[in-house]
Symmetry: D2
Subunit: 149 residues, 4 copies
Amino acid sequence: MSERAAPAPRDGFSIFYSLNTRWADNDIYGHINNVAYYAFFDSVVNRFLIEEGGMRLGHDNVVGYVVNSSADYFSPLTYPQELELGLRISRMGEKSVTWEIGVFAHGAALSSVTGRFTHAFVDREANKSAAIPSGIRRAIEALKSPSDS
Amino acid sequence: MSERAAPAPRDGFSIFYSLNTRWADNDIYGHINNVAYYAFFDSVVNRFLIEEGGMRLGHDNVVGYVVNSSADYFSPLTYPQELELGLRISRMGEKSVTWEIGVFAHGAALSSVTGRFTHAFVDREANKSAAIPSGIRRAIEALKSPSDS
Amino acid sequence: MSERAAPAPRDGFSIFYSLNTRWADNDIYGHINNVAYYAFFDSVVNRFLIEEGGMRLGHDNVVGYVVNSSADYFSPLTYPQELELGLRISRMGEKSVTWEIGVFAHGAALSSVTGRFTHAFVDREANKSAAIPSGIRRAIEALKSPSDS
Amino acid sequence: MSERAAPAPRDGFSIFYSLNTRWADNDIYGHINNVAYYAFFDSVVNRFLIEEGGMRLGHDNVVGYVVNSSADYFSPLTYPQELELGLRISRMGEKSVTWEIGVFAHGAALSSVTGRFTHAFVDREANKSAAIPSGIRRAIEALKSPSDS
């Protein structure tokens, strides 16, 4: 949210996903709309949770609810570009994790957009906060280690 | 983005718009998805710019680009609820304005979600930053006065 | 799908819902995008199923899956218009129903867009086709009667 | 729209595009929502128009408006699958073209969804119908030839 936010360098991210833009991502100015990026963030993190963390869509009792999110927009992107989304952890607690996502034009050194959001984990049946499930915690720890070393 | 963010009281907002939720706003957990709220924010502010600020869709040379945005999520909402969106100004400069939007369940005293984003105005032809157009500035000033008095 | 499709008159519809357009519904040409109308259709029918047919979001075992859909576009609409959506039944069988939706500019006599889609009901646990649930069937029959009389 | 619609075989399509699904494509039943497919169709055709037909986003005076669209849904798909979209021409006139799109799970022989829509070309300044621009016509003809030979 700071006005001094700066693009994020590519090598600060631990894992990358490619993402096709869509016609509907463009707004009336011919740029990818600010809202669309949040859909990108959501997709990347949920894909990580499913593929790396063993999350089973619609079957888990403990799930992450988004409690806050934000983004800084540095340079416009446009459909039909192919994008690369970098993912890293900016903070992990007992019951919550904050993801940071960098949106890069294909091959770019600096992010066009950087966003972040916090998942607070909730036991849906008990309707109360819960520890991060162990499979997800392990995936997060594996994600963190490359950049730590 | 602070973890201590709290719901916003209804009487802090200057103008309200009603908004129908849509089936597609619900995610797999049966709640309005975190991304959808940013589409709500965008809609409310652009409606204000058009109806109060004289913005002519697709014809103006000076337009607002979103440079940052954020939201805090306090309690879930679900399609098919009717919502009320309150709009206020949190900061206005020479060339930019920061909007704040409270999302309220119909009749609720406190916001379920509060978001904000900054429009930096740009001269599209010259491709450089520009002063807020006078019609929009007047509308913003009119929006501010009720809560200031 | 016929090229001779014509706008539908307002009085052919049994029930109406109002719908706010959103900024993101507009495409790069400043018109509501062809895709957005299908989101409108989905919203109107699911609202009818919930409010009139007793559908409980995420709790029913027998649900309707969309097996086909189509739309004819007669005249452009633009955010921030308020729309009225008319709903009627074009065909009902034992296990499926075809909905027809007319999208009207506020107060317009003829539809700007007319669409339709077929719900085939499925028992999710058994993973096979199922009769239309009785509450939904009753709501459909109540919807049909005004225009039949 | 026929109830006898059948999945389309892969070899009936002339050109393929890969497409990442997104978290928001899933509906409350954990399947890609019927509406999302129309966004896929739109994306594939516009990408073809830009990359093969020389369409310049937001700069062309003659553009295609969608006058009708339809889809048949044969089997559910789910985020985070990777999809392949096949494109072919089902009809071309002087001033309009009907596109057909097959949505395939990665490597599948038969489409999970098949859709189609008609673009009628319009001179935006004159606000009247127009011949298909020559660059687009050439691209369409090139698309047709492989399957004709």
